[in-house]
C-alpha cells in the first residue's frame, strides 16, 4: 500500500529539500516506486537539487487546477527508473493550492507509487499544513540548534492536531532526522548532543546526518547525495534511514575511529 511521507521542520534552511531528494532517491534505489512532490509553491528548489530544473514543463499547481494530467507533470529521473518528481510552481499564486486539489493529487499518486514524499515549505502557514495533511509518516528535520529545535516542537504539535490522521483519532508516525551534526563539537559541549535533542523533542530517531562537504557537492551537481556520493557518510546515513522507514532494524555500528583513519578521512574530504 502506498505511503505518504512528509519531510517537515518549521525552520528554514535545515535540510528539508536535501533530505527529501536523498530519501526519495534512496527509496527508489531499494526498488520502490517513488514520487517526490515539492510543496514549496513560489520558492521551488527540489527540481534544482534533483538536477531536473531544465525539464519542468507542468507543475503541481497545473495538476491541482486541472490544466495538466498527473502523468504529464511527473518528471522521470534520468538515473533511476522508479524515481519521479512533481515540481512546485515558480510563479503562480500559492492560493491556487486548495485542500481538495491537493487531496485529488495525493490520491492520484497513491494509485501509481509505493512512496509519496512531500517536501514541505518552512513555517506553519497553509503550505506547510497542506503538505502534512495526508501524511502517514513524518520526518522532522532538525539541526542541533535552539531555534531549529523550538520550531520542530511546534511542528510536532501540528502533526498531532492538524493532519487527517490526527482528526480521525490516529497518529502520524513521527521520526527525527538530525542533520548537520558534528560529533566532535557535540563532545566538546559546543552544540547540543543527540541525546539532548531526543530528550527535548521525544520522538524516535531515524538517523543522524553528519556535517559533510559531500552534501553541498552533490547539490551543486544536481544529484541527491545517495546517488552523487553513495559511499559518503551522509549517503550511508540516508540509506540506513530508508531501511528503517521500511521496517528493517538497522544496527548502528559504533565506529571507534583511530587517529590514522581520522587524518585519512580529513584529507580525503
Amino acid at each position: 500500500m502506498a505511503k505518504v511521507l512528509v519531510v517537515t521542520s518549521g525552520k528554514g534552511g535545515v535540510g528539508k529539500t536535501t533530505s527529501t531528494a536523498a530519501l526519495g532517491a534512496a527509496l527508489a534505489q531499494s526498488g520502490k516506486k517513488v514520487a517526490v512532490v515539492d510543496f514549496d509553491v513560489g520558492l521551488r528548489n527540489l527540481d534544482l537539487i534533483m538536477g531536473a530544473e531544465r525539464r519542468v514543463v507542468f507543475d503541481l499547481i497545473n495538476v491541482v487546477k486541472g490544466d495538466a494530467k498527473l502523468d504529464q507533470a511527473l518528471i522521470r529521473d534520468k538515473r533511476i527508473e522508479t524515481l519521479f518528481l512533481l515540481p512546485a510552481s515558480q510563479t503562480r499564486d500559492k492560493d491556487n493550492l486548495t485542500e481538495e486539489g491537493v487531496e485529488r493529487v495525493i490520491n492520484g499518486l497513491r494509485e501509481k507509487f509505493d512512496w509519496i514524499i512531500c517536501d514541505s515549505p518552512a513555517g506553519i502557514e497553509r503550505g506547510a499544513t497542506l503538505a502534512m495533511r495526508h501524511a502517514d509518516v513524518a520526518v522532522v528535520v532538525t539541526n542541533p540548534e535552539v531555534s531549529s529545535i523550538r520550531d520542530s516542537d511546534r511542528i510536532i504539535g501540528l502533526l498531532d492536531s492538524k493532519t487527517e490522521k490526527a482528526e480521525n483519532g490516529e497518529q502520524v508516525e513521527k521520526h527525527l532526522l538530525l542533520t548537520r551534526y558534528d560529533n566532535a563539537r557535540a563532545q566538546r559541549g559546543e552544540i547540543l548532543k543527540v541525546e539532548d535533542v531526543l530528550e527535548i523533542l521525544s520522538i524516535p530517531l531515524l538517523a543522524i546526518i553528519p556535517e559533510s562537504t559531500e552534501v553541498l557537492r552533490s547539490s551543486n551537481l544536481g544529484a541527491p547525495v545517495t546517488l552523487g556520493s553513495p559511499n559518503s557518510a551522509p549517503a550511508r546515513a540516508y540509506l540506513d534511514a530508508v531501511r528503517k522507514l521500511q521496517g528493517e532494524t538497522v544496527v548502528e555500528v559504533q565506529k571507534q575511529r583511530g587517529l590514522f583513519s581520522k587524518l585519512f578521512s580529513r584529507r580525503a574530504a
Binding site: 516542537d153 504539535g157 501540528l158 557535540a186 559541549g189 559546543e190 552544540i191 547540543l192 539532548d196
Partner: protein, 92 residues
C-alpha cells in the same frame, strides 16, 4: 588558569538544553489550544448552561485550572445570589 579556561570555553550546549526545556514546557501548554483557550471556552459554555436555568452574573462564576506534575484540577466556583437560591425547589 589560562589553560583551565581554554578547556572550559565553549561549553554552551548545557545552557541551550536548559533554556529549551524551560521554554518548551511553557509553550506546549499555551500554543495550539492550550490552557488559556480551554479555560475561556469552558467558562463560556458553563455560563450558557447556567443561563438556561437561572440568571447568575458573569462575575459570580470563577473557573480555575491547576496543572500539576501528576494531577491537574479544574475548579468551578459558582456563587448563587440569595434571591434566586430562595426560589429554588429540590427536583421532584
Amino acid at each position: 588558569m589560562s589553560l583551565f579556561s581554554f578547556f572550559k570555553r565553549n561549553t554552551s550546549a548545557p545552557v541551550a538544553r536548559e533554556r529549551l526545556q524551560v521554554l518548551l514546557a511553557h509553550e506546549r501548554t499555551i500554543v495550539g489550544g492550550g490552557e488559556s483557550d480551554l479555560v475561556a471556552i469552558l467558562r463560556e459554555e458553563i455560563m450558557a448552561v447556567i443561563a438556561k436555568h437561572m440568571s447568575v452574573p458573569q462575575d459570580n462564576v470563577q473557573i480555575k485550572m491547576d496543572r500539576g506534575a501528576s494531577v491537574s484540577t479544574l475548579e468551578v466556583d459558582i456563587e448563587i445570589p440569595t434571591d434566586i437560591a430562595a426560589g429554588m425547589r429540590p427536583a421532584a
